[in-house]
Symmetry: C2
Subunit: 575 residues, 2 copies
């Protein structure tokens, strides 16, 4: 702080001069003590000067209201909301989230360093603190085909970027604990900084070895017991409540039942679609839901603020105290926890303020490269044996590997797999480098009948993924995504029912949230009509079926992958 | 961590190979969750690999015992224990303190940078983590005369020393909040690092301005309400329990009564004599006493470990989890909290192991420079008016400024102040630069009769301070300290009763703890016999009476100083 500024602030903090801005007569939530105290909050130049009794040049009366530090989403991917980053920030900020810890690993998987630069540039002057974790697993594993490889060498120049806080979620646990050179080069590069984890269900010893490598967070745990194992290993637990993965109830119930110290627990969304943010909220939803489950409101608010700030060493965020940044959520009361207003650096965030969508380079809008592709490529010979089937489960992104008999049909002397009410076909088509690789498998539980659903958003390599009950509709879906340079598509009875183009890296639309929302509002109900159970978000769940780091079975351009065994099958009928 | 090492550790953490060292069958205190869990702790090369079920090449059975992270003293001055730094560390480490956050501001006040280098060198290879905070207030204020001035420029080269964590206790609050250039140069130099405070009883606004300057700790608060004010301003509170200042009961009782979240509270000793460490313990005493006062043991242990580690950003200390340093306290049980053994980097600390006292340069052993000095210099003319008297108080280092009539005696036509049972004389003689400055004042409450007590340890400038009921004995005391190049002395009826020479900067003995202890064991009871109430540690309390940053009234080489008014009186009879 410049001395001249300090002198000015000091006079205001001491009440010798009027503060520039004072929030009067509030219940002030002090995350550092867990108290609600009555008083005024003095602010100047976006910085908090003091809490007490203050007069201001400008005064905002908060009688009857609560002022809290702005909320922090401790882990999210901006790309998953389908719109350009500024739009998500705008929506989430209106819900009280003023700090975003972003892992741009979707962009990096498609476009490498250029993808990361895109995210940094798009969020540079948004009304929120946006920090980036450098994607650690690009590609996510060696068994998949993505657009770019991000090595430690390529990351080095980002080390001194003040908006880069460390290494993003380390999904490749086997490389960590076995001591693989390229992984440890990345871990070492970020020594002293935060190294985020992604560690669903490691054994006790493996989890210790994983933490020993310096990885200190995880957002993948789905139950209380495992969350506590991570806490015991010194890790922060980011409780996730997103569109597809909803782990809050399970973990928070455990915290409430066991009266667990909330220290080290934070909130995140990971992947949350913009229409859901509008419907139920963002981190404010995590807070509200936790309180509904019986967590004391002060604990929920600490998790949403100071715990996350501490995790990421953001010493100027997460509390209302002298020197902290003036990011505030104003709550109407502690019962509804309704967000009345939000302030970023002391400036009010205007609800649904018009947003200018920042342009994107043409190169980043031309990333769908598929060469020869025909219906034939989707055919799956049935050798008369049992098949490994991806059993999809409502509300989960994990799958079960079920090995069973599947239906067949004979054609020209050969038996082929054929869909029925139980089983459908799933396929992934490599789309970055025109390699022609196509994997075909079988799913169960998704229930789609009479068409196909496809997406170029397909974690983490973002190839084209398609599920359908007939090859013709699947083919049409893929052709449509070639045409729109990425997107979501729903095909029904030989016709494209609807398409949401996502031309920015095949991940995001730059047509604006309203357009995206209209299209989704038309396509999603239709997808459910076509048989997909309500427990699935059709496109989001689809987008995780190609992610070969989550148990138990996945589809990749190289074939069906059995995650726990680390085994790739060219066809699902291998044993 | 080198990859080769990680690979080795990972195998041990996963139980694929025997760990080098395993603490078996313990109750493991996990400061990160506040839990006691049953298990083994695996260690290699001084690093914790995991907690679980492990076999070791070497095994230490802890059945029935508790293993905790090593304790942290979050703020202390090594010089105050009168022995060379290694000896204090040895004693305190046996009590379970394995990390020391040291402010060498006594040494710096006498010998500047050379004094700091002495502390760093003496503690370089002791069996404990010793970190240094760069003294911020050398001299403590402009109203005093010390040996050296330490500017931001002189500190710069210490910024990248991994053992230097930040800026030491900032005592000069007025310079901070008024925005004085030289103070803010120091604060700015350590931006991003820890800047320790020293903030007894600032007003609400002043405390906000003080915290706004980036100061984030305080160890001076003596009551719960003020401690909470500091917490609300985002500061850490170091609860002090030393030889002279004992604030633990007051603050911890408040925490217990109000069920206050202990987050942000740590323990420190500040100044604690070695014989007291031996008698009642070190940070383990703070823990035990807190539990006696009703604090849950897990909260007391968190304050002694992870809270302090977090405060000083020592991410490898304060917890038992993979990657943390293997510093342990073994407790016999949770009732007595008796320390059975202590480990530093996985190696057991041998009780009273022989210690080689590291040599000290001759220059640092020749720091008492007093020129002409006679009994005449101690005479105090009584103008027949009331005097400002230093009212000393048992168990406190603060004083009260009482303005009252004091006894006099006539000699050669002039009235002089004369001691009686209530009032005695106090004097400070400048000893660094032979300036001849001598301040004379009057004390009450100390009760010394029939002699004089003197010390070259006299915070923070470490001039010679002497209290006596007659000028002859006071003179003899000062002459004795000239002879021994510093120390403690007790003079009784014209004779030196005992002297503890402290030749290292006039602050420390290099004759070994046993010698120091023997001499103190002889001198302290005699001092009490001579009238000093049991509520005072005679020498330690004496050593604070010249500290012009603590209310309300002090003696300096320039005269009597009224702290709250910031006013220097040449004689105590000024109004």
């Amino acid at each position: 702080m410049e001395l001249e500024n300090y002198r000015k602030y000091s006079k205001m903090a001491r009440g010798l001069e009027k503060a520039d801005l004072v929030f009067k007569n509030a219940q002030v939530f002090l995350s550092q003590t867990g108290e609600f105290v009555e008083g005024d909050v003095a602010v100047s130049d976006g910085k908090i000067l003091g809490v007490g009794s203050y007069d201001g040049k400008e005064e905002i009366d908060l009688t009857g209201k609560i002022i809290c530090p702005g909320f922090i989403d401790s882990h999210l991917h901006l790309e998953s909301t389908l719109v350009t980053p500024g739009e998500l920030i705008r929506q989430a900020a209106q819900c009280g989230t003023t700090t975003f810890i972003v892992d741009p690993h979707e962009s990096a998987n498609v476009s490498g360093i250029q993808g990361i630069d895109y995210i940094l540039a798009q969020t540079e002057d948004v009304p929120a603190n946006v920090y980036v974790m450098m994607p650690s697993c690009v590609p996510a594993t060696s068994v998949d085909d993505n657009g770019c490889a991000l090595t430690a060498g390529k990351m080095k120049s980002y080390l001194n970027n003040p908006r880069v806080l460390g290494l993003g979620e380390v999904m490749d646990a086997p490389s960590v604990i076995s001591g693989a050179v390229s992984m440890h080069e990345k871990l070492r590069l970020f020594e002293g900084k935060v190294r985020d984890g992604h560690a669903p269900f490691l054994s006790r010893g493996d989890l210790a070895a994983y933490a020993l490598a310096g990885i200190c967070t995880d957002h993948e745990c789905v139950d209380y017991e495992y969350a506590m194992q991570e806490r015991r290993n010194g890790m922060y637990v980011h409780i996730r409540e997103g569109s597809a993965a909803r782990n809050l109830d399970a973990i928070v119930k455990g915290i409430v039942e066991n009266q667990t110290d909330t220290d080290g627990f934070c909130f995140c969304t990971d992947d949350k679609h913009i229409e859901e943010i509008r419907r139920e909220g963002h981190i404010n939803y995590n807070v509200r839901r936790s309180v509904e489950l019986g967590l004391p409101v002060k604990e929920a608010l600490k998790m949403a603020t100071i715990h996350a700030a501490r995790c990421y060493k953001l010493e100027h965020l997460g509390a209302i105290a002298p020197g902290y940044q003036a990011d505030f959520v104003i709550l109407d009361d502690l019962e509804t926890l309704h967000v009345s207003d939000v302030y970023y650096r002391g400036r009010k965030i205007i609800r649904d303020e018009a947003l200018e969508i920042k342009p994107c380079s043409l190169q980043l809008k031309d990333t769908i490269h598929i060469g020869e592709f025909s219906e034939e490529n989707l055919r799956l010979i049935h050798p008369g044996k049992k098949a490994h089937v991806l059993q999809m489960m409502e509300g989960q992104i994990t799958t079960e590997d079920v090995f069973e008999d599947v239906p067949r049909v004979s054609s020209g002397g050969t038996d082929y797999f054929v869909s029925d009410d139980t089983y459908q076909k799933i396929s992934v088509i490599e789309r970055h480098k025109n390699t022609g690789k196509i994997g075909v498998g079988i799913v169960k539980g998704f229930g789609l009948r009479g068409g196909a659903i496809a997406s170029s958003v397909s974690h983490d390599s973002h190839n084209i993924i398609v599920i359908g009950d007939n090859d013709r509709d699947m083919y049409i879906a893929v052709q449509e995504l070639k045409r729109t340079r990425g997107g979501y598509v729903l095909v029904c009875g030989g016709e494209v029912f609807g398409t949401l183009p996502l031309p920015v890296m095949g991940l995001m639309s730059d047509a604006g949230y309203e357009t995206v929302n209209e299209l989704l509002a038309k396509m999603i109900p239709k997808a459910h009509e076509m048989g997909i159970p309500k427990g699935f978000d059709p496109f989001i769940t689809l987008s995780f079926m190609a992610l070969p780091v989550i148990p138990e079975i996945r589809i990749t351009p190289r074939g069906v992958y059995l995650v726990n065994e680390g085994r790739m099958l060219k066809t699902p009928f291998e044993e």
